[in-house]
């Protein structure tokens, strides 16, 4: 594929203009200002201008910098991994399940560990759905079990076993100090230990989740913001078919 080099754009192609803001943990003086400028240079910004510098008190100062990014990226060389499937609508999903599985697909979902942000998982699973997209509960070929907030990984695994879940949906919203990575790894390890990992389709979602990250953590797919029930459902049914076709 032909190279497609791009640089940030301010008002002229390849001018590289970017805006930057940050705090330095020092009181504001000329050296701090110059330090801010030099940091921008280290980031590869030519002619950086510290357009705002303000003392925040208690030995902190705030900077806004504009500069010209020297880096460029070749978009043609970028491969973005994303879950591969064709998005069906609710009826399509139902039909495919009926046809291929010949039974209801069991989906169990939860916000695990300390995370109590259920709005995301509810948006995917509950009847009401999100932005006019109905949730999995409304799919008559699915049995959708939403365990809600702050579910221990152990409890989730136990329920998944009991319910013979085909799909596990995990939501992780809190990412501070990378707590989501710990939680997600823990769940994956538990499933592995229970010998369940290969028997379920394991999906994670949340605003800071990418498919890439999910794969790295040993999940089958990851979904970020603006996901709707049909995306997840489509992926799940396609994945099931892939695994169960010989």
């Amino acid at each position: 594929m032909a190279e497609k080099l791009v640089k940030p754009y301010g008002d002229t192609l390849n001018d590289g203009r970017v805006q930057l803001s940050f705090t330095l943990p020092v009181a504001l003086d000329d050296a701090a200002k110059e330090g801010a400028r030099q940091l921008a240079m280290m980031m590869g910004l030519a002619e950086p201008a510290v357009v705002h510098a303000e003392d925040m008190g208690q030995d902190f100062s705030f900077f806004i910098v504009y500069g010209q990014c020297k880096h460029q990226v070749d978009l043609s060389s970028i491969k973005v991994s994303r879950p591969e499937f064709e998005t069906l609508d609710k009826e399509g999903v139902n039909r495919l399940i009926a046809e291929k599985m010949r039974r209801k697909m069991v989906v169990i979902g939860a916000c695990i560990e300390t995370d109590a942000h259920t709005v995301g998982i509810d948006a995917i699973m509950n009847m009401k759905g999100y932005n006019g997209h109905k949730g999995l509960e409304s799919y008559h070929e699915m049995r959708a079990i939403n365990l809600g907030a702050q579910v221990d990984s152990e409890d989730l695994v136990k329920r998944a076993l009991e319910e013979k879940a085909d799909v596990i949906l995990v939501s992780q919203i809190v990412t501070q100090k990378n707590i989501h990575l710990d939680n997600l790894t823990r769940l994956a390890d538990l499933l592995e230990a229970e010998g369940l990992r290969d028997r379920v389709i394991l999906i994670v979602g949340g605003p800071r989740i990418s498919h890439e990250l999910a794969k790295e953590l040993g999940y089958d797919a990851g979904f970020g913001t603006r996901t709707y029930a049909e995306d997840v459902a489509s992926f799940a049914v396609h994945e099931w078919i892939k695994r169960n076709s010989t």
């Binding site: 803001s21 008190g57 560990e113 109590a116 709005v119 509810d122 702050q150 809190v174 501070q176």
Partner: protein, 515 residues
Amino acid sequence: MTRLHLDQAQIDRARDSARRIARSVFEQMKPFTTTTVERATLRLLGIDGVDENMVPLPNRLVSHLQEQDLLQHGAAAIVVGAMIERGCTAQQVAEAVAAGKLTMRRHKGEEAIRAASEAEARKMCEHIARQRARRDSEIKSVGESRRPWLYLIVATGNIHEDVIQARAAAEQGADIIAVIRSTGQSLLDYVPYGATTEGFGGTYATQENFRLMRAALDEAGARVGRYIRLTNYCSGLCMPEIAAIGAMERLDMMLNDSMYGIIFRDINMKRTFIDQFFSRMVNAYAGIIINTGEDNYLTTADACEAAHTVLASQLINEQFAYLSGLKPEQMGLGHAFEINPEMENGFLWEIAHAQLVRQVFPEASLKYMPPTKHMTGNIFRGHIQDALFNVVSTLTQQDIHLLGMMTEAIHTPFIQDRFLAVQNAKYVFNTMRDLHAEVEFRRGGQIERRAQSVLSETELILADIERMGLPQAISKGMFAEISRKADGGKGLDGVIAKSGDYFNPFPNLMLAGGQ
């Protein structure tokens, strides 16, 4: 002046419903105590510290009392009995029990024990009263800002880092510092101990952390010439204990709701109703302003459709608060600017809601929350949503103004987020200083009609709730579209039926002696 024409008789009817709703719950809960109420009582009697496994001594002692089938009599009487017998302090009793050197039992001489208990309790009440007086005198000497007060959170997870951030925030203009709690603390059935450095999305609420932050803020307040109020979360499975340590360490505000734990943390209702009563009583006595959590409803329900549930809940919270001895000005009833920014005329409805609440609770210290749900990664747009929130707050004269962060959808605040948020609010408040006195809303206009219709819906829903009872209303998902059953949720095992001779020295002292 901004004033809407509302039907006062309708407001009165809604408030009467709420009064009966709260009273009915109160009566039903009277026969019960909880493990955390008892632990709080022990803390108020001076028990503190942890065992070798970091289990707090109040927990060790209360568990022991449960094992000995004694808790239903009230922990205070049993412990004071042992104190008298052994001629030692409550702390020594607890340590002995924890060390396995003492097994608790009932002591004779109920009268004497009660009197001794009261004497012990009075000591703590005096300490708390001194803290209250200290607050008053600090405010008098260093001063305080005019309202709306700027409320900022710190949430690094590390109390020492929090202190740094809080000091900077004070310098930047904060009037109130809230130390956000670590994710998950509300479901711990104990209060962690000591200075802590490892929280997620917040810092553990511990007595030592309270103390460290209080000292830092007193110092910062003196420097900036403004008393800086300290806030924490009197919420979750240890609500009464947090109230106790907060009162001791001179916190000034507490997130403290009669239903939040039930709805958002799936804590059992009975547990919550009992705990909230005790915790509020302590808060009332300590001169602490409580903050209720109705704003949270709008993070799951739609801010327009559910506007009346916010008002209904505030009225209920108000009545529960009265039952615990809180004064109107101690009621930081919560509401929020959460209408979808894409909605045509959404700003008008925000004004209507905020002004309605202002007029229904003219004396309350209203807590107004910034946009959160509809904040996105677009920080520039978010900064403007926050600015319009600031506009509504000054226009409708709110009291406790939580600062919106442009990075709300991204991370807990960075120091610069807070800095810019303060600038935002200060600019808006100053440039519109007297706008509230200059603007009138058209009689019979859209804003007024919106407020009237929310008020009518509130009256209706409260009548409904009164009919079915609050537990039933909650189980029907009337608040925040979340349904909780009466016997579901965490912490029900901590609800204990009081025996006939149950005794606790604090209610008598505190309900009488609030400011």
